[in-house]
């Protein structure tokens, strides 16, 4: 996929013509979403769980300052270092500084969306550091030079043959498409990386304020190796990824894994409360927690505040019909699917992400499954509203809706306009259908026929019937 393609529509078109992607994305999406449905049924009262988690998340967001303070205090008390980064660049330079101060050369990473958001790898590599992704999906993407196309299944768009090719190149020998052979290669290669690494970098699924603990959820064990083998562990979190106590963590984890993959719990859930203590058999000598703002505090006072409740489960992508057809890369930003369409314009601005709020039919499937009840499709309308107000929409469209507003509030004009439009369309009509035309007609008729307006409208029939209530 050409990430440089000028706009969303162009990237989407490319995705629609990519036969491999067209097979792969729906295949994985079906598995993930049916997993969620089964898990929700098994939970029984999933609506109550959603409501409760939504309230807890909102309350946490509303009191973010005090929870962050509590978290930072407890991490320090556990012997860890806490850094606040207000911008992406700050977060990157904190990591660089730690690497430099400790003479580090090699870094292993566990999958983390926030490090994608701040483009960490690129900057570290520019500094001459070697960075290896250890999540299998991320490792595949690193070899392919791509970005994640999904929050939890970053390489879901890739098929086995392509992976075998990438691994063969990395191995310098021909590997078969056999899963066990491919995994064996990755395991062997990554093991070496774990042993040699100076720094392990992870994200953070949740940070527990009351104990200063970073909690990581994974299915491969790579996160555990990343946090325990190198002598320095750096965890990077978005400032909203916080839960007050272990009780809320319990609830959040229950909903996270079920919403993401349908699992009751993931294979590994790791809690890290600071560096190795005296008497510990393993663990890093230094533990750093970087808490990243990067535009989040600007969202707090806006209509989009609820987006900060997101626990990054990806359930919205797994049900989204747009995501299903174009995959994650078409969004052209860090986060894809419905949550990406809401979040990316907030993090990056309309200049680069103005099309994303329109990448939705507003069907509401995303809102229906969100475990923290973010009104995703309503927030997409909110973006459209802001884009209109800030002048990001075409002048022609503005004029059309202005005319619409006038006609819709003047029934006599509306009725006349409908008649004129009806007569006007005969220019393009054939056998009662229109298959061409200007403006919005062109978009519609590119792949669909449009019926010609009826010869007698309903209101004319009603008047003729003598049943009018004209007031």
């Amino acid at each position: 996929m050409n990430l440089q393609a000028a706009d969303f529509k162009a990237r989407a078109k490319e995705a629609l013509n990519d036969t491999q992607l067209q097979r792969a994305v729906p295949f994985v999406q079906d598995r993930l979403r049916s997993g969620r449905v089964q898990a929700a049924e098994a939970l029984g009262n999933v609506e109550e769980w959603r409501e409760l988690l939504s309230e807890i998340r909102m309350d946490t967001i509303d009191n973010l300052d005090s929870y962050l303070e509590q978290l930072a205090g407890n991490v320090r008390a556990n012997g860890g270092h806490v850094h606040f980064a207000s911008k992406a660049a700050d977060a990157v330079s904190i990591v660089s500084r730690i690497a430099e101060e400790n003479g580090a050369r090699k870094i292993v990473k566990a999958k983390s969306m926030i490090t994608e958001e701040i483009h960490l790898n690129k900057h570290l590599e520019e500094q001459g550091l070697s960075v290896i992704e250890t999540d299998l999906g991320e490792y595949i993407l690193q070899l392919a030079g791509e970005k994640p196309s999904h929050i939890i299944s970053p390489a879901l768009h890739k098929r086995r043959g392509e992976i075998a090719e990438l691994f063969s190149q990395a191995a310098g020998r021909k590997l078969s498409e056999d899963t066990s052979e491919l995994c064996a290669f990755a395991r062997e290669h990554l093991r070496e990386a774990f042993m040699e690494a100076d720094i392990g970098i992870t994200g953070c699924n949740f940070a527990v304020a009351e104990s200063g603990t970073v909690v990581l959820v994974s299915n491969e064990g790579n996160a555990r190796l990343t946090t325990s083998l190198p002598k320095i562990h750096i965890a990077i979190m978005g400032m909203e990824r916080i839960v007050p106590t272990w009780n809320e963590l319990d609830l959040a984890l229950t909903m996270l894994t079920r919403s993401a993959t349908g699992q009751k719990i993931s294979v590994y859930v790791t809690g890290i409360s600071g560096p190795r203590q005296a008497g510990d058999l393993d663990g890093p000598e230094q533990f750093h927690l970087i808490i990243v703002d990067n535009g989040r505090s600007d969202i707090l006072a806006t209509a989009y505040k609820e987006v900060l409740k997101c626990i990054r489960c990806g359930a919205c992508m797994n049900v989204c019909p747009i995501y299903r057809h174009v995959g994650g890369h078409a969004y052209g930003s860090v986060y894809s699917g419905p949550i990406g369409a809401v979040l990316d314009p907030l993090l990056e601005g309309y200049e680069t992400a103005k099309e994303l709020p329109y990448a939705s039919s507003l069907c509401g499937a995303c809102t229906e499954v969100c475990p923290v009840k973010i009104p995703l499709h309503d927030l997409l309308i909110e973006h459209r509203k802001d884009e209109v107000e800030q002048g990001y929409t075409p002048q022609m469209e503005k004029m059309s809706f202005g005319a619409f507003g006038f006609m819709a509030s003047h029934p006599a004009v509306y009725s006349k306009a409908a008649k004129i439009a009806s007569a006007g369309t005969t220019l393009w009509a054939k056998d009662g259908y229109i298959s061409g035309g200007p403006g919005l007609l062109a978009g519609w008729t590119a792949g669909r026929d449009l019926p010609q307006p009826a010869k007698q409208s309903f209101r004319d029939w009603w008047k003729e019937k003598g049943g009018a209530r004209d007031e």
Binding site: H325, A359, C363, F401, Y433
Partner: protein, 242 residues
């Protein structure tokens, strides 16, 4: 009982037979129907596109048109959902209009919802010898929570064999201006819907929203596929004793 028909712009201009079917079903069940002709469009195209000021103009007109109505019934889940969910939001903080919007929201119903829930009827005495699948439109099922009512009504139509539509909860790709603005994605979506429809072997697709049906029918026609689409009111009005 008196009902004001909210005809909706699509039914008024493109599919008047839908409105005529609704009128005949309601009248046959003892309901007095009137149609305020000062109604225009609910404003959804403008609202969903972010033109809230223009949408508000349409909404005010709709509110005024139905001010004296006892019940308002629309043959469209999407327009009913617009009135019920977004009208109160649109006038939040406006003391005069928010009360009026809430009042209209409370008395507005989608057609099948009204027949089953308010009139308490699930058999209108229709006859239709055919096989069909039912399309759950998004705003009606997710927005209004109306899923079982149309299915209930269709299950009582004599001679009608209903087939289960796989992935019935998935959007057909209409989405108002989405279909025009993002036409390539929309087409991929409607094509998938049609593949699922074809897998049922049904001769006909029935829906409760002309937006979705216009999209699916338009694609069926363009791709030369011989499956009919019909609004549920047309099906229910069929074969009724005259």
């Amino acid at each position: 009982m008196k009902v004001s028909l909210f005809i909706t712009c699509l039914s008024d201009i493109f599919f008047p037979e839908v409105g005529r079917s609704v009128v005949s079903i309601l009248e046959r069940n003892g309901v007095e129907v009137d149609v305020p002709l000062t109604q225009t469009c609910c404003g959804q195209p403008a609202y969903n596109s972010g033109y809230v000021k223009d949408a508000r103009k349409a909404a005010k007109q709709t509110i005024k048109a139905f001010q004296s109505s006892e019940y308002v019934v629309a043959p469209s889940g999407s327009c009913a959902a617009m009135v019920r969910h977004y009208y109160p939001d649109m006038f939040e903080g406006d003391p005069e209009w928010s009360a009026k919007a809430a009042q209209l929201a409370d008395k507005t119903f989608e057609f099948t919802e009204f027949v089953v829930r308010v009139l308490g009827i699930d058999d209108v005495g229709a006859v239709c010898e055919d096989s069909a699948a039912y399309h759950q439109s998004c705003h009606m099922s997710r927005g209004l929570g109306v899923r079982s009512e149309p299915v209930q009504l269709l299950s009582r139509v004599e001679g009608l064999e209903m087939k289960e539509l796989p992935y019935c909860q998935d959007c057909c790709g209409f989405g108002g201006t989405f279909a025009s603005k993002m036409s390539a994605i929309s087409e991929a979506m409607v094509d998938e819907k049609i593949r699922h429809l074809e897998s049922t072997g049904a001769n006909m697709l029935i829906g409760s929203d002309m937006g979705c049906l216009m999209n699916i029918a338009g694609r069926l026609r363009r791709t030369g596929k011989n499956i009919q689409t019909m609004h549920i009111a047309e099906v229910l009005a069929k074969g009724m004793a005259t």
